[in-house]
Amino acid sequence: MEEPEEEAAPAEEEAAPAEEEPEPTKASAEEEPAPTEEPAPTEEPAPTGPTRITLVESGGYTSLDPFTNAWHATPTFAVFGPMWDYSLDLKEFGGIWVESWEFAEDALSATFKLKPNLKFTDGTPINAEALKWNFDMYLDPDLASPGGGTIREFVSSVDVIDELTFRINLIVPWAMLMDELSWKEIASPTAYETLGPEEYAQQLISYGPWIVKKVTPDVSIEYVRNPDWVGVPFAEDPGDVNFDELLIKYVTDEAVVYAMLETGEIDYAPIPAQYLQQARDNPNIEVVESDGYDTYYLGFNNTFYPFTEEGVRQAIAYAIDREEINLIAFEGEANLLYQPLGTANTGYNPEMEEYGMQTSNDPEMAKVMLDELGFVDSDGDGIREDPNGDKMEYELMFPQDPTRQRIAETLQSQLRNIGINTMLVVVDATLMRQRTAEGSHQMITWGYAMLTPDITTYIFRSSRIGASNRNHVNDPYLDSLLDAQDQQLDPVKRQEATDAISEYLIDHRFHVPLLSPKYYNGYRSDKIRIAQFNILGGFYWDDVYPVQ
């Protein structure tokens, strides 16, 4: 959900619910989009000697233990192959571990049948018992697994039906179940119990395209190919990882990461906007561009006066010029956003953009609205006073980051134009989380990201106040809309529920969506070939080939 900043990048293979700012990076299987450009047909024959692909992880090193780590990134997705994966258009799932699944009529359970003869890389059979063991770990309240947080909210239990069949019992219908489990890490129970959590985190025995060879905390993780990987059904040539080795390096500085891509020390990396032209000019770097599912927004503490006043929030929404923010912060490369869901979110509806535009881009209207509400500049200093006589001066907090800084400064200027003074407060992501959780903030500019529209539940449901509901919205009607969306499995009805939420959020302006940045990744076309990308620019491991 909201931007994780430095933390481990919530990059997933596909597009799992990234947390806050989505980190466009991911190098795992799917990621950013990329209009499938057919790379020049290069020969793929592996050169002599082991072939290696080198990637970078720009989030800091965190535990790789699935049960103690809430942050999912390329290093884990390389090992924990998903039970199923998204198609390239993200509209359907294809089984990897499972061959079929079925939801009950009341949508309160789902039954999954595993493929036969699959084994974790330590030889432990992948069967219903193993899956149940994993879910029980995630569900264990004493373990309080951060990675199992959502599961504990929706799943009541898991039953073993037979050797290869298990049933997930739900507390309420849960539309996001398939998405959630498409990136849920599953460990070999034998390995985990034998090795213990600490040692397991160094070996990560599971079943995925890669097998961990060596973990050097904060430095790198070395992998070797899993010869038994069954592959993603949507891949060009499912079942074959075409490199012998994978090396993921931990490097946090984006300038250094880009320099490593330029010199060929890494083969694939996210490209910050300021290096985009340089990358495009490099004949050895192929730039992959896609829409993102992030929402960058201006947020309010809805319990802090005057942001308790809907009219004030609406006036501020009118005052914002997204074009200007885009130019200053993203060099014009982001998508403007007038609705709560990022452009690549599966619940994104272009019609909502028009709806949001109707109450935007009109600073004069903002001034009129504030005047009518009694927020006027009575002493002529250019800053309005509220009806109590207090100056309209508020803190605008944002996490330390050059892009955020530029967004905040532009917002400051735009709000100053309608007579609201803001003091910029820059903090790190950890403090940002704490202050927004405890409600000691006034205005913020941050972001959230997730592939599915359920992100609105995390950001706006009243039960999330004190955690991810950073705008401190407490609206029972909105809660009911969110529940209706989260529990609706019918795609058409679910979209209607999502649209209703978007409209409600736009009407009441609990926050103001600003932009949805595109994702830019680059890969060394002289060293690797990627056969196809999904609409987020992600790829399947099976689709990456060495170039001789």
Partner: protein, 308 residues
């Protein structure tokens, strides 16, 4: 000397413990930010966050947490990282050699270059060579480490493609850029100090006497002048090691080296208390140890100094 060493070691121990106590308390009381919010991830409910807080023992009163930390630390257990779950002692022991190696290489680089430039500029003082080197010294002393690091990467890795972007403490080519980046500022400062110190000594009567006796100029400069100019230089060199240890934090981050700097930066940004405490403890011991060595060296360099 032995008594002196015992006294200093005892003082060092007290100082290190006091420092860690201060860090322990400051991290939890003055430095805002909740590690559990981050650990829980952005999908956690308030209830899950509280469960994790209890699990990590961060719900206990501060004095109880401190007591547990001290009790465990005395047994060599600095706790486990909140975020990686790994023992802090292991993490620090793994990172320590990287930082020490980087610091030593940078120190050697700065000492060698600083002494060399200082001696040359003092010997040829007020010449064009002196002026150029003084300008260079001021420039490098003023340039921030992170900027210099990025420039070195740009020039030597990206443009010339002769050195790797990412540092590597196990190879010469991998450590060159980090060591230069970290040591350049120190070298510049040292060069200016050596120059000033040498100028003073070169004008003394015993140096003139040495020259009058027909000693070789090399011997006059190095043996008679440089050695007598060393006492203030050693003092500064000791401080510089502290500076280099601190600077290593930035340098490691830029060059992707997994040393104490990377560890402590990650620890601070995520409020990983045990990691920060562990790295501070080890760094403090190192710095204090260096100071003891500097004190001892005084006695060797200047026979007039005695510790009785």
């Amino acid at each position: 000397m032995v008594n002196f060493l015992i006294r200093r070691l005892f003082t060092t121990l007290i100082l290190a413990v006091a420092l860690v106590a201060v860090v322990f308390i400051m991290l939890r009381t003055i430095v805002p930010g909740d590690p559990i919010q981050t650990l829980a991830g952005d999908f956690a409910t308030p209830e899950m966050i509280e469960s994790l807080r209890i699990k990590q023992g961060l719900d206990k009163p501060l004095h109880i947490q401190f007591f547990i930390f001290v009790r465990n630390a005395l047994q060599g257990d600095l706790g486990n990282s909140i975020f990686t779950g790994l023992p802090v002692t292991d993490r620090v022991i793994g990172a320590y050699p990287v930082t020490i190696r980087l610091t030593i290489y940078s120190f050697l680089f700065s000492m060698t270059l600083g002494l060399m430039l200082g001696v040359i500029t003092s010997y040829y003082h007020d010449t064009w060579l002196d002026n150029i080197m003084r300008i260079m010294s001021v420039t490098f002393a003023s340039v921030p480490t992170f900027w210099l690091g990025l420039m070195l990467i740009l020039i030597f890795a990206v443009w010339l493609d002769v050195l790797p972007v990412q540092g590597d403490m196990l190879s010469l080519e991998g450590l060159l850029l980090p060591a230069i980046s970290l040591g350049a500022g120190s070298a510049a400062s040292l060069a200016r100090l050596v120059r000033a110190s040498m100028l003073e000594v070169l004008n003394t009567e015993y140096v003139r006497t040495a020259r009058a006796k027909g000693l070789h100029e090399w011997g006059v400069v190095v043996k008679h002048s440089l050695r007598n100019a060393l006492v203030p230089i050693i003092t500064i060199a000791g401080f510089q090691i502290g500076g280099l240890l601190g600077g290593a934090i930035i340098t490691e981050n830029i060059f992707g080296l997994a040393g104490m700097g990377t560890l402590v930066i990650n620890g601070i940004t995520s409020r990983d208390y045990p990691v920060v405490q562990g790295t501070v403890l080890f760094t403090a011991f190192t710095y204090l140890g260096v100071n003891i060595i500097v004190d001892v060296m005084y006695a060797y360099v200047d026979p007039r100094i005695r510790y009785d």
